[in-house]
């Protein structure tokens, strides 16, 4: 038996998994369901939840907690954690997630066409911060909130790879 806490898109699922013959008995937030899980070639599996069929593929890297699960072609990103461990983390006030991402990274490889802000500048939500050209199209990178620019990591004419730091906010 194992007990997990799965988070996705603001939702939490309390999931208990037990082996039950060839199948699994899965209790999701108190509701018990019978699940059959058959792997086929490569990363694909067929999962029957109380006989409802789903084509599944799961991309994970061992014990790392984030997963990209594809259900019938629809991608769902989620975090899975041992339930007790998740409780311990919560108790310990783990605040990793809040600390993160006051940075804008390049969403694609390309060429920086324009940088429209500088350090210390206040930007409004929706304001264009810089313009990147990729695949022959100009892409405006906009701010998603009202913030103050701490550091501009790139300059006009520079080539960037996907994931390169562009701008940091305060």
């Amino acid at each position: 038996m194992a007990h997990y806490l799965v988070k996705s898109n603001g939702k939490e699922f309390d999931i208990v998994v037990k082996k039950s013959g060839d199948s699994f008995c899965v209790v999701v937030d108190g509701r018990e369901q019978t699940v059959q899980f058959s792997s086929s070639g490569k990363s694909k599996s067929v999962m029957l939840v109380d006989c409802c069929s789903h084509e599944i593929s799961i991309n994970s890297n061992g014990y790392d907690n984030s997963r990209l699960v594809t259900v019938g072609g629809i991608e769902v990103e989620l975090e899975i954690d041992n339930f007790r461990l998740a409780q311990l983390k919560k108790a310990a006030g783990n605040s990793n997630s809040q600390a993160a991402s006051k940075k804008i990274k390049a969403p694609m490889p390309g060429l920086v066409l324009e940088v429209k802000v500088s350090s210390g500048e206040k930007v409004e939500s929706g304001q264009t911060i810089l313009v990147i050209e990729a695949m022959k199209m100009e892409n405006a990178i906009k701010s998603s909130a009202a913030v103050v620019v701490k550091n501009v990591a790139v300059s006009k004419g520079q080539s960037v790879e996907k994931g390169d730091l562009l701008i940091e906010f305060e």
Binding site: A2, Y4, V6, S8, N9, K11, F13, I15, V17, K19, F24, V26, V28, Q33, F37, S43, K44, S45, M47, V49, I56, S57, I58, N59, S60, N61, G62, Y63, D64, N65, S66, R67, V69, T70, V71, G72, G73, I74, E75, V76, L78, I80, N82, L85, L88, K89, N96, A100, P107, M108, P109, G110, E133, A134, M135, K136, M137, E138, N139, K162
Partner: protein
Amino acid sequence: MSKPIKKILIANRGEIAVRIIRACKELGITSVAVFSSADRSACHVAMADEAYFIGEAPSAESYLVQNKIIETAKQCNADAIHPGYGFLAENAGFARLCNNEKIIFIGPKAETIELLGDKIQARKKAIEAGLPVLPGEEIDVSNASEALAKAKSIGFPVLIKAIAGGGGKGMRVADSAENFNESLIRASSEAKSAFGDGRVFIEKFLENPRHIEFQILCDAHGQAVHLGERECSIQRRHQKLIEESPSPVMTPELRKNMGEAALKIARASNYIGAGTVEFMVDSDMSFYFLEVNTRLQVEHPVTEMVTAIDLVKEQIAIAENKTLSFSQDDISCSGHAIECRISAEDPRQGFVPSTGTIQDYRMPSGPGVRLDSGVESGSEISVYYDPLFAKLIVWGKDRSEAISRMKRALEEFRISGLKTTIGFHRIVMENENFVSGNFSTKFIETEYPNYEFETADDKTIETAAIAAAIDRFKNESRINLQNGKSSRASISSWSLYHRQRNMKKFTGSR
């Protein structure tokens, strides 16, 4: 007298090169691919009979190098060059160069491309031919105040368009005098980078227009027909996403009128070959000439599905100087076809391009489904070229069946390794306004402002959570078995916690 073409060099790549190679194979014509260093093992290279390296990955160093392509065509004794769409397809200079070198350019004559490629001249020609046009005029980008005055006299909103443009590049809407200047500069600079020509003109911008275009075919002997319309209003930043034929709002009378208008401009410009006459249709169903695309369109398959006419084979027959084998009366459209463009873009991140290697690639198939694709499992999608890599086209006996079939086909389609627009199309196929046929070119911005939409519903997320839990349970059971432990309960939560923390250090994951 017709002269059979025996060998065609395809001056393109990706899905359209594959499409043309398929036609060549079926006609028994030798196909010649050209490729850049990024495309050494691309599908179009593997499928063609012959293939020649023409330069480095950036298209300016390969697919756009006219002399290199001409030289290759001469080296391999190609009778003709098919330019596909994009790249050199609407380049009058290239068509002329082919002509000078006695290589058949599969497309209209250089003069026709030149005339219709210049939006200002094409507009004049349309007016002469009696086609309705929107108010508009050319402007001088360097003279900001005069430009603004002209925009004001037309009345905002205005559409700023590259004179040499196409494919939505160098195109911007200005709502008001305030954002006019920035939009003008952006459009002009994009036009310059895309077409090497920064000239723009402005035109009255209709608030809720439909984009409807007519496919035409004209032979070198004066015969000209249209193959009905394509509804292309579902666009994002002036790039078409979904096309269909017939248009949900078309009437037989309007089709007749618009079709005749399309043939008028074709005749007035001595058009030879396949082409598309684009119109804006206002909410009162009045229509205005927009432009002529002097090439095969991305969306040509929807016309092929309803007319059962193979446009690439017709292009080749016309280039062979044959007369069209059918007249306007022979053309009948049956059923309904829809195309979804499948691009390497992440719709939820504002459609940013996504690059990478395609891992799994499972194509949809079965009744009424056609996939025009330029990739397969193992293909690289690079930053160098257009993100469009496949087109999914379905046919149904009516629009409703076509939509159901498109949903089914999109559900079957699997691509892993990068983000695509498949999920977005699945959502659009469920959209009430799309399903009812009640939409304009503003559809995307009205229905999905800021591209906010959810591909996964609650049930799907729960299913994914269960799958993740079982997958992890199975992995942990396996690891425990390997460790000789009979149950994972013997690992304390604390040791798991520390183990995970240590793992993170190595994997570097957040």
